[in-house]
Amino acid sequence: MRRNAVAVVGAAETTELGVIPNMSQIQLHADAALNAIADAGLKLSDIDGIATAVETPQQIAHYLGITPTWVDGTSVGGCSFMLHVRHAAAAIEAGLCKTVLITHAESGKSMIGKQPRSTPADSLNGQFEAPFGVYGPPSMFPIPVLRYMKTYGITHEQIAMVAVVQREWAAKNPRATMKAPITVEDVLNSRMIAYPFRILQCCLVTDGGGALILTSADRAKDFRNKPVYILGTGESVETPMVSQMETFNSSRAFKVAGPTAFKEAGIAHKDVDHLMIYDAFAHLPLYGLGDLGFMPHEETGKFIADGNTRPGGKLPLNTNGGGLSYMHSGMYGMYALQESVRQMRGIAPAQVKDATISVCHGVGGMFAASGTIIFTNEK
C-alpha cells in the first residue's frame, strides 16, 4: 500500500466510558459514530464505506441510515478495527469508496443488547478446549505465559510492573477508569484469577465504543482536524485455539502483522515515538515488544521493569492506561487506535511531546489474530 495515501480525519469515543446502563450496544455504536462524524465536520450522507465487527455492517448501516458502496465485516476479535483500517485504506486507494466509517461498541459491562459469546460443542474449541475448564478469556489468554517466563527468564515482578506503569499513564487521563497509583506488591497481592495472573493483571470490563473516519490524503487537508496519515499496516491470523499456537514463546500472528507494517512504513524501531500494544492481560506488551522486533524477548521484562515505557521513559507505551486501567469493553483495539490518533493530533491527555510516529498493535482472540497500524502526522 502507498504510504500516507489515506488519513484519519475523524476520531471519537462514546460520550461516556465505563458503566453506561442507559444505552444498548447498537446505540453505543451510533453514539461513537455521531461523535466521529461531528469531529470530522461531516454529514452521515457523506459516508460511503462502513466497517464494523461483532455487530454486522448491515445492522450499523441501517441504524445510522447509511447506504454504502463498500462494506467490511471482518470480525477477528479485538484487533478487528486495525484490520478495518488496513482494508479501508486499500479500498479508498482502489477507488471503491471515498469516506469510510469504522465503528466499535460493546455493552461489555451492562450487557444491554449484546449476545453472550458461546462455543458450540461440536466446534474444535468445543471439543478440544472447553471440556478442560476454560471459561472466558482470563482462563485462556494467560495459558502461554508460564512457558514464556521460563524460556526467557521473565519474573512475576517484571510482569506486575506492566500494570504499575500503565496505572501511571492512566493517572494522567481524566477518562481512565482506574487512576489510583499501585505498586508491584499491590499487583502480586491482588485477588488471584488464573495463576500466575491476578486481577490487576487482567483487563477491565466496561461499556463504551469508538469510531474512526478515513478518507484519501488529498481530501484530508480540507478537513478541520490535523490529518493523521496511515504510514504502514499489517495483519494476520493464527488459530482460535490457544493450545494450538505454534509456540508459547511468541505469537505467529504478531510476527507477521508487526514486521509487515514496519516494512510498509519504511521505518526503523528507533523512529517510533509512541507505541500502543493491546493489553488484555499483562503479558501482551512483552510479547508485542519482542515479536514486533523492538528487542529480544529476553529483554522485554527488564525493559518495562526499568521504567523505559513509563511517563518520561524512552518508549512511551499504552499512554491512555491501556486495557488494564483505561477501559476494555471486550474489543479494545478501537481504543488503542483512538489513543494513537490523539497522540498524532497532539491532543492526548498524556501527550508525548513532538511525537511524529505512532505504532498501534492489536490482538484478537487469545493470540488468534493480529493487526498493526503505523500512523504519522507528517506527510
Binding site: T119, A121, Q127, F128, P131, F132, V134, A194, Y195, F248
Partner: protein, 137 residues
C-alpha cells in the same frame, strides 16, 4: 437440581475416530502418509503438505507439561476451583489441552516439563476425556 456438568464435546465426522479412541482407552493421533507429519486436532488431510492420505495411529500417551494456568475464578461448570488447565506436549509432537489429575493443583507441584501420562475419564456412554497424570517411575 443436578450439579452443572462440565462442557461435553460433540464429535464430528472428522473427529469421531479420536473420541472412539478415548472410549477404547487409546489416545489416537494422525500421521501424514506422504510427509510423516504428526498433527492434532483431527482432520482428514495433512495441514503441512495438504495430502489426503493420512493414517490414524495409537499414540504413546506420554508427554510433558508445556504450560498451564490454575484457574480460580470464574470456574467453569463442573469444576471446583482452583484447577489447572494445562497444555501437554505429546512425545509424538502435537500439543493438546487437558487437566492434570492425581497431583496437587499448585505451582509447586506443577512443574513445567514434568513427565505426564494419559489417563481416561469417562463422562458418559459416548464421551471419555483424555486427562493426564504425573508419569510413574
Amino acid at each position: 437440581m443436578a450439579e452443572p456438568a462440565r462442557a461435553k464435546p460433540k464429535p464430528t465426522p472428522e473427529t469421531q475416530h479420536f473420541w472412539d479412541g478415548t472410549q477404547a482407552g487409546e489416545l489416537r493421533l494422525q500421521r501424514c502418509d506422504a510427509c510423516a507429519n504428526v498433527y492434532f486436532p483431527p482432520r482428514p488431510f495433512c495441514p503441512c503438505c495438504a495430502s489426503r492420505k493420512v493414517s490414524v495411529f495409537k499414540a504413546s500417551g506420554k508427554g510433558t507439561l508445556y504450560s498451564y494456568v490454575i484457574n480460580h475464578r470464574p470456574a467453569a461448570p463442573g469444576f471446583t476451583p482452583p484447577y489447572a488447565i494445562a497444555v501437554v506436549e505429546l512425545d509424538e509432537g502435537p500439543r493438546m489441552m487437558s487437566n492434570i489429575i492425581d497431583c496437587p493443583q499448585t505451582p509447586e507441584a506443577l512443574e513445567l516439563d514434568m513427565k505426564l501420562e494419559v489417563a481416561f475419564e469417562k463422562l458418559d456412554d459416548k464421551i471419555t476425556l483424555p486427562l493426564f497424570r504425573p508419569a510413574k517411575g
